[in-house]
Structure formats: structure tokens, C-alpha cells
């Protein structure tokens, strides 16, 4: 009984995790072995074995959406990290108005992605959008933001930066505020100037936090769906079709649920490896041994 006791107590949590999280994953994996369409019985769906996975490996469309995702991830995460860290360093000091600005600044983070998509769809609208309207004052011709491949890609990158920079900002500012003040003072005594202080002391000391923020954003990039779905639907062409949106389009536009499931399995593997990397690389306890 003594050995079973602990397991008994975590059983409810495990049961919920298993049904809520594990079941859909297993189901997706199971589905990927069938050629199934919506409206037909799963029992009648033909068994295709690993054929979906083999097809996926050479599918140019899948490859393209992965490329788009990585390109999207590169630009958004790079800019979000730079902006978020810079703003955190600027607003870390208790200057007048900093707390108000901090609150205003994290608002985008609290808006549902669907709403974000809608807001920016109107802002980017070629005919009635504010962006074209104000660009007009600067003498810039109205642009078809969401109809041009490069501009649409820029639009989704811009929207993502708008929504997610605050995320980096709050994580980094929390990390900065937890730094031991005596160590920071020691570096001033050692003669570090402003940027040496940041580059050689502050940033290295929050390294694990930066790694975690980066990987969390990377996972989010692979899961991003709603904003792109509403803003561009993946278009024009496939210019903004991220991996998860690609899966969605495969499943519900082209009715290839089995194949879409196979791509989902790939997505799960990618996200799983990234999550695992968080635990290994960025273990926050590693650097915290009482220094």
C-alpha cells in the first residue's frame, strides 16, 4: 500500500492528461495509417500503412510550408528577441511611468489570436485599412498588403511581432529583476560601462531564461494557426501557409484527413524535440545553485 499510495494520488491527474492530451495524439497517429474522408465511416477507410509518411517525405508542398514556417520563425523570433530584450533593459529601472507603459505594453498578449487576426485584417485591408490610409499621408501608394506574396509575408511577421514581443519582454524583465543586485554592483566597481554591464554580466546571467523564451516562441511558431488563417488563409498561393495551417487546409479543404494526420505526427515530433530541448538546454535550475 505504501508503494501504491503515491500513484493512487496522481491517478486523477494522469487520467485527465491521458484522455485530454494523449488520446488525440494517439488517435492522430492511428488515423495517419488510413485514407479517410469526412462523412465516411472510419471502419470503411482503406488501410494505407506507411504510404502517407513515404509520400510526405517527397511532398514539395509540405516542404514548402516547413520552409515558410522556418522563414517566418527566423524573422519573428529574431526581431521579437531583440526588441523584447531591449525594451526590458530600458524599462527595468523604476523610472516615472514605466509601470504604466509596462501594463499597456503587454496588452497585445492578452488579446485572443482570432481577434488579433481580425483587427489586423482590417488594418491591412487594401481599400479601407488604416495602414494604407496613413501611408497615403506620407505619399506612399496604397498597397495590396494581403494580396502580394512578399507583403502578405511581411504582414504576418509584423502582426506576430506586435503580439509576441511583449511575451519576451515580460519574461526578460522578470529575469532581470531577479538578478542579485550585489553582482551587478560588483561589475560597476570592476569598471564595466553601460553596454559591458549588459553584454558581459546581465545577459549571460539570464541566458537560460533567454533560451527558454526562444524555444517557447519556436514551438509557438510551429503551432501558429489562427492569425494566419484569418489574415491570409495561407495565401496568396502558399506564401503564408505555415505548417499547422497547411495541415488544416489538407484536412478540411482537400479532405485528406489521413494524410493531414501524418503531417500532424511530424509536427508533434518537431514540437516534442523542441520541448525536450527546453528541458535539457534551458533547465532553469542548472545555473541557480546558490552563487
Amino acid at each position: 500500500m505504501q508503494r501504491l499510495g503515491p500513484y493512487f494520488f496522481i491517478l486523477p491527474a494522469v487520467a485527465i492528461m491521458a484522455t485530454g492530451l494523449l488520446y488525440p495524439v494517439i488517435q492522430a497517429f492511428y488515423l495517419s495509417f488510413f485514407d479517410w474522408k469526412i462523412g465516411t465511416d472510419l471502419e470503411d477507410a482503406p488501410w494505407v500503412g506507411f504510404r502517407h509518411f513515404i509520400r510526405m517525405a517527397t511532398d514539395a508542398d509540405v516542404l514548402e510550408s516547413i520552409t515558410v514556417t522556418l522563414r517566418f520563425g527566423f524573422w519573428t523570433i529574431t526581431i521579437e528577441m531583440l526588441l523584447g530584450v531591449a525594451l526590458a533593459l530600458l524599462l527595468e529601472k523604476p523610472i516615472r511611468g514605466a509601470s504604466l507603459f509596462r501594463t499597456v505594453f503587454i496588452l497585445p498578449l492578452m488579446i485572443s489570436p482570432v481577434v488579433v487576426g481580425l483587427i489586423w485584417r482590417y488594418l491591412f485591408d487594401a481599400r479601407i485599412g488604416w495602414i494604407n490610409y496613413y501611408l497615403g499621408y506620407l505619399g506612399i501608394e496604397p498597397q495590396v498588403w494581403l494580396g502580394d506574396a512578399d507583403l502578405a509575408f511581411f504582414a504576418i511577421v509584423f502582426t506576430d511581432i506586435w503580439q509576441w514581443t511583449p511575451f519576451i519582454f515580460i519574461i526578460v524583465i522578470a529575469g532581470l529583476q531577479a538578478l542579485p543586485s550585489e553582482v551587478l554592483e560588483a561589475s560597476k566597481i570592476d569598471g564595466a560601462n553601460w553596454w559591458q554591464h549588459i553584454l558581459f554580466v546581465k545577459l549571460p546571467m539570464i541566458r537560460s531564461i533567454l533560451v527558454i523564451a526562444l524555444l517557447l516562441r519556436l514551438i509557438d511558431v510551429f503551432r501558429a494557426l489562427e492569425v494566419m488563417y484569418i489574415l491570409t488563409g495561407g495565401g496568396p498561393g502558399r506564401a503564408t501557409e505555415l505548417l499547422s495551417l497547411h495541415i488544416y487546409n489538407r484536412a478540411f479543404d482537400t479532405q485528406q484527413l489521413g494524410y493531414a494526420s501524418a503531417i500532424s505526427v511530424l509536427l508533434i515530433l518537431i514540437v516534442f524535440s523542441l520541448s525536450f530541448a527546453i528541458l535539457v538546454i534551458g533547465n532553469p535550475m542548472k545555473d541557480k545553485a546558490d552563487v
Binding site: 542579485p180 550585489e182 553582482v183 554592483e185 560588483a186 561589475s187 560597476k188 566597481i189 570592476d190 569598471g191 564595466a192 560601462n193 559591458q196 558581459f200 554580466v201 549571460p204 546571467m205 541566458r207 545555473d287 545553485a289 546558490d290 552563487v291
Partner: protein, 368 residues
């Protein structure tokens, strides 16, 4: 004009005045310990010297230069913090050489200076380790090393030993004293531990509530405290205080509830000019004894009744926690290692070692 000088320095935090006005003159090469209870402003004083805390008014001079508004790095100082404040992401060599690397010192010189400091502190085997892989004592040495490598004009220490265990602390005390001899630099050391102050300082600055109470050599502040606060703060175990009155005319005594001690020598002289004065009597624990033998030539013993509550055996002497009526008294009595626990009864006190303070102002009236 050299050393470190504070002139009319004040410090307010908001509406609270932490340091009303501070003047301090520290000569070059001197080891000064600032000591006082927590909240007395000693750390704030050190941080103002370091440039980590701006002064509210007044001036600070280091090596004759007015550095009142200079940032820390322009003050030619090195500092050792209570928490060591090592850079967790750098190894020992990296921690020690950080300041030199920032100053773009040639690599060869950095290496030799780190090597020299590491040898001095017996850290040569640990240069590649990260702080988290070191023990408390080793981290402490690295923090010292980081300061030594700088070869700064003035070294500041903010309670650097308070996180160490008792044994290590006393070892580091000795090493610090040796270090001071070797480096021959001005050192300002802040602590709440009067033993650290007594053992290491050339001069002790005793602070209370932001005000310097006394500045003097360890011998001075122990033998000739200017007031009751200093007397109670310096000495371990702490001095006992009894309220009493000066009685008698030409053969004065001090008496109070449960005691009556005849005065002689200096104390008697002072008492004659303070007839019937209300005083606080200071008795150091180490000046009690059992037989009334020993002491110095000037010693005159007088009996005093103690009601012993606990006698702590510590080898050749015993610490006793006792009472005179309701007033708690500590005494440290040398009785040899084989004696039985001390009991209540008549003890002797060396009246040539009595301190007398004015009961209202706390100012010293007479001292040994």
C-alpha cells in the same frame, strides 16, 4: 592630502535621515573597521565611499581627489561583498580578471596577476571552476582575489566574513590581517561583529544611528569608551550595566539594589566631583573572580553577591549567567579546568576596573 576623507557627508532616504553628518579621516595604508549594530548606517557609509549610493550632501575624497559624484570605476577602489557577488557564468580566473580585461590590460599581465593572487589565496587549483562548484570559504577567497588583482588604491569590505562558519571566519580574519600587511593598502571594513573589529583594525569607528560614537584604536575603545553605547558594544561577552548612585564623601562608593562597591583610585577621584550623582555602573564580565587574588598592581577587590543561574563550562574558565536582584549579569571567571560548576554566593570584583557613566546622557564619568 591622501587616504580617504569624508567631509560633512549626510544621507537621507526619502524623509528619513540615515546619516545626519559624518566626518571621517582615514590615512593611507590604514585598516579601519566601521562597526555598529544593524541599521546604524555603516553599510550606507561604505556604499557612499564606493559610489554605489549617492550622498545627499557633503564630499568624499579618495587619494586627495574629490570623487563625490564620480562613478565607482573612477574611484580606484575594490570591494568585497557580503554575498561574495561572484559572476556565476565565469570561472574563478574569469571572475578575478574581469576588471583587468575591461581595462584592456595586456593578456600576459592579466595572467600573471591572477596567478599571483591565486597563489596568495591558495586558489591555483580552482581557477577553471565555476563559483557554484566551490565551497563558501573558497568563494570568499575568490571575492578577495577579485579585489586583490585590481591593485586598487582602497579596498572596501562589506561584512565579507559573515556568511562563513565560525572556524573559517577566524582563519580568514588572520589572513586578512596578513593580506593588509602584504598589500599595504587603505582598507575600510564594515562589520557588526566587534571581534572582527578588535582583531583586525588599526582604528575602529563605532557608529550608532548614523552618528560616529567614537574613533580609536582597539585598545582605546575597549579601555576608554566615551559612552555607555561604546562600552556595551565593544568587549565580549558584553559589559554588564547596573543602575546606582555615588554615595559617601571622601571615601566614595557606588551602590544600588543589591550591591555596594567601594571606589578607589581614578574612580574615587571622579566620584568625589560627582557626589550623589545617578550613574550607570559598567562591569566587564572578565573582571569578576572568585578569590580576589590576581589582577594588576592597581587592583582593589570588593565583594559582590551573585545569584548564579547557569554556569557554562568552557575549559579553563566558566561563563556564568547570574543576577543581582533583577538585573542579569554575565561573568567570565577563570577557575581552572577541573573546578566544579560555580554556585551563588560572594564573588570579588576588581574595582579599579569599574566604568561609570552618567545615567541620563550615557557619557563616561570614570574609567579604569
Amino acid at each position: 592630502m591622501s587616504g580617504v576623507r569624508l567631509s560633512g557627508v549626510t544621507k537621507d532616504f526619502g524623509t528619513v535621515s540615515v546619516i545626519p553628518s559624518l566626518d571621517l579621516d582615514i590615512s593611507e595604508g590604514e585598516f579601519v573597521v566601521i562597526v555598529g549594530p544593524s541599521g546604524c548606517g555603516k553599510s550606507t557609509t561604505l556604499r557612499m565611499i564606493a559610489g554605489l549610493e549617492p550622498v545627499t550632501s557633503g564630499s568624499i575624497f579618495i587619494a586627495g581627489k574629490d570623487v563625490t559624484w564620480a562613478p565607482p570605476k573612477q574611484r580606484d577602489i575594490a570591494m568585497v561583498f557580503q554575498s561574495y557577488a561572484l559572476y556565476p557564468h565565469m570561472n574563478v580566473a574569469g571572475n578575478m580578471s574581469f576588471a583587468l580585461r575591461l581595462a584592456r590590460t595586456p593578456r600576459e599581465e592579466v595572467r600573471s596577476r591572477v596567478q599571483r593572487a591565486a597563489e596568495m589565496l591558495e586558489l591555483t587549483d580552482y581557477l577553471d571552476r565555476r563559483p557554484r562548484d566551490l565551497s563558501g570559504g573558497q568563494r570568499q577567497r575568490v571575492a578577495m582575489g577579485r579585489a586583490i588583482v585590481r591593485d586598487a588604491y582602497c579596498f572596501l569590505f562589506d561584512e565579507p566574513l559573515s556568511n562563513l562558519d565560525a572556524k573559517l571566519r577566524s582563519a580568514m580574519r588572520t589572513e586578512l590581517a596578513i593580506l593588509h600587511k602584504k598589500l599595504d593598502r587603505t582598507m575600510i571594513y564594515v562589520t557588526h561583529d566587534q571581534i572582527e573589529a578588535m582583531t583586525m583594525a588599526d582604528r575602529i569607528v563605532i557608529m550608532d544611528r548614523g552618528i560616529v560614537q567614537q574613533i580609536g584604536s582597539p585598545r582605546d575603545v575597549y579601555n576608554a569608551p566615551v559612552n555607555r553605547f561604546v562600552a556595551g558594544f565593544i568587549g565580549s561577552p558584553a559589559m554588564n550595566f547596573l543602575d546606582g548612585e555615588i554615595i559617601g564623601g571622601d571615601t566614595p562608593a557606588v551602590a544600588g539594589d543589591g550591591f555596594n562597591l567601594k571606589l578607589s583610585g581614578r574612580q574615587a577621584e571622579a566620584a568625589r566631583s560627582h557626589r550623589n550623582h545617578r550613574v550607570t555602573i559598567g562591569l566587564r564580565p572578565e573582571h569578576f573572580n572568585v578569590s580576589g587574588a590576581g589582577g594588576t598592581e592597581a587592583s582593589v577587590f570588593a565583594p559582590i553577591e551573585l545569584e548564579v543561574q547557569v554556569a557554562e563550562y568552557i575549559g579553563s574558565s566558566q561563563f556564568i549567567a547570574a543576577r543581582i536582584r533583577d538585573v542579569p549579569i554575565t561573568a567570565s571567571i577563570e577557575v581552572g579546568p577541573d573546578s566544579a560548576p560555580l554556585k551563588s554566593g560572594e564573588y570579588q570584583f576588581d574595582t579599579s576596573r569599574i566604568y561609570l557613566f552618567d545615567r541620563e546622557s550615557g557619557e563616561a564619568i570614570a574609567r579604569p
